[in-house]
Amino acid sequence: MSDYTLSIQNLAIGYRKVILAQEINFQLKAGALCAIIGRNGIGKSTLLRTITQLQPKIAGAIVLKNKTVEDYTPPELSSTLSIVLTEPLATKNLTVLELLALGRQPYTNWFGRLTPKDRLQIAAVMEQFDLTALKDRKCYALSDGQLQKVWIARAAVQDTPIMVLDEPTTHLDLHHKVEILKHLRHLATAYQKTILFTTHDIELALQLCDTLLILDGATNPFGAPKRLIDQGCFATLFPPDQIIFDARKGAFTIR
């Protein structure tokens, strides 16, 4: 028995015969906030889709709470792992409350009846995410920032020990990016959740995350931000003749 909630061992990901990235190794404990960074097209979303069982792995092992992910039944997995994807909401006619309530599906009966406990849980999450005033608003009337918050709140309503999010801060302004990341930080710290997300906001991730995974397809360095900076991992992330990394400030500048 290890105390890791999420353990990835020698994982190779890709589509059929095309391997996008391999030798991915990392372990996360409860309360950890981890960002996956890397170039466009390197396989960040594919990695998340593989971990969440939306597509098959090529090799290696994905272990959630001491059990490989393939051994989970669909209902079991749905109360262990929740997701936030980049795909747009297909039915914008849902109200915020209706969308959040769907997060309770793993716990409701065949007819989807919400118990008082479910309703309390939904109300608590709405309060925490400052969504109570918006609860009857239809999703088409929300801004991108509000909608992203609703998606994350839906995953929080699902109340799983592990949360996986694909680019939760993309398309948002700096203020909303920070707000979203602070919510994630709070969920991890206060509720002891393991949160894994992909992002292009490396400078923000360096400030807020416990650990980072730099997906480069081959060595995939993983560790605390400070250690990765000391190892010089960020200097070679982008072409050094165009972008340089200031290790002292933890920021990128244009050459």
Binding site: P75, S78, S79, I83, E87, K92, N93, A101
Partner: protein, 339 residues
């Protein structure tokens, strides 16, 4: 969040509307029967003319029941398709499922002689039309898993409509005038002339569709967020997909077999129900769509009967004339069909 009390009022209004539409449908018809006599006939009493008794019990009542089954069933099929494809324009007719049923029926009506089959029973028409609708549904599912674009899916449905139309023309070209006439009359659509036995089969299938739809409420709600989210919330996609498709295929196939290809009901009614009840919750939408579809079909049938005239209009024309502007009105009102 689902709070049943909030929907009591609209459901109450809908049931009143159903009662009114049903009454109107029984009262109005080619033959003028005074209201007083209709009342006494329905109470089991005598009428001043024996033929009135016959018209009410053997023609208008079975016809109105068929209309309720047809309208409710087609609308349910439309709701399932719209949610499954998360596409506001999906419906048994638009996706070519009704065309598939037409092809099946056409093969039976006009090709039976060529294939040496002479059994033209109710069951064989239902089987042929259901098989046709399943075939198209199956092909659409396969293409849908390759083409993610919903617009492409509708175009594919449209193309199926064209292909089946062409195949039907070829069949028509080689068939006798009598066979052709049977098919043409069938394709106009009609909710009359169903025997008690046929009505029972139709009622059984629609009842089964209603039960299956209620069993599907939870996965349907999850599917509103897309298949990936549904899966992440513990929905068994394969099983739900299979039940949704079987239900829609059975409903569209059987109804089309008995009542002909009826357009727009399956497309328009779910939108009207979403507007009227202002919810996406399938616990509400399944019964609401069924009731609203029944009301609409009763009204369309009443119009098609051309009260106090000897002629009857094809019901398919009426549903199109009423349904198409309704969809346009919804589009204009909301700029786009919100789903």
């Amino acid at each position: 969040m689902y709070a049943p009390s909030q929907y009591y009022r609209p459901f109450f209004l809908l049931i009143i509307a159903l009662a009114l539409a049903w009454a109107l449908n029984l009262v109005l018809g080619s033959v003028v029967i005074p209201l007083k006599d209709i009342g006494s006939i329905l109470m089991g009493g005598q009428a001043r003319e024996a033929s009135w008794y016959y018209i009410i019990w053997n023609y208008r009542i079975p016809k109105s029941i068929t209309a309720i089954f047809v309208g409710g069933g087609l609308s349910l099929g439309g709701l399932l398709m719209q949610t499954y494809f998360r596409n506001p324009l999906a419906g048994p007719f638009v996706l070519g499922i009704s065309s598939g049923a037409s092809l099946g029926a056409a093969l039976l009506f006009m090709g039976s002689a060529a294939f040496g089959i002479s059994i033209l029973s109710d069951i064989s028409v239902v089987a042929a039309a259901s098989m046709g609708s399943f075939l198209v549904l199956f092909i659409i599912i396969i293409t849908a898993s390759h083409v993610r674009d919903t617009m492409a899916l509708l175009i594919i449905g449209l193309m199926f409509g064209s292909i089946t139309g062409a195949l039907v023309s070829i069949l028509a070209y080689f068939s006798s005038a009598e066979q052709l006439q049977r098919f043409i009359f069938w394709s106009f659509g009609s909710v009359g002339n169903l025997s008690t036995q046929q009505n029972a089969i139709l009622g059984g299938v629609v009842g089964l569709g209603l039960v299956l739809s209620f069993l599907l409420v939870k996965p349907l709600n999850a599917l509103l967020l897309g298949e990936n989210y549904a899966k992440s919330m513990g929905v068994s996609l394969q099983r739900s997909r299979a039940i949704i498709l079987i239900t829609t295929g059975l409903l569209a196939g059987t109804i089309t077999a008995f009542a002909g290809p009826i357009a727009f009901v399956g497309l328009a009614v779910p939108h009207l129900a979403r507007q009227f009840f202002s919810t996406m919750e399938h616990k509400v939408l399944v019964p609401a769509v069924f009731l609203l579809g029944a009301v609409l079909m009763l009204c369309c049938d009443t119009v098609a009967q051309l009260p106090s005239m000897a002629r009857v209009l094809p019901i398919n024309a009426i549903t199109s004339i009423l349904g198409a502007p309704m969809v346009i009105w919804l589009l204009l009102r909301q700029r786009k069909l919100l789903f």
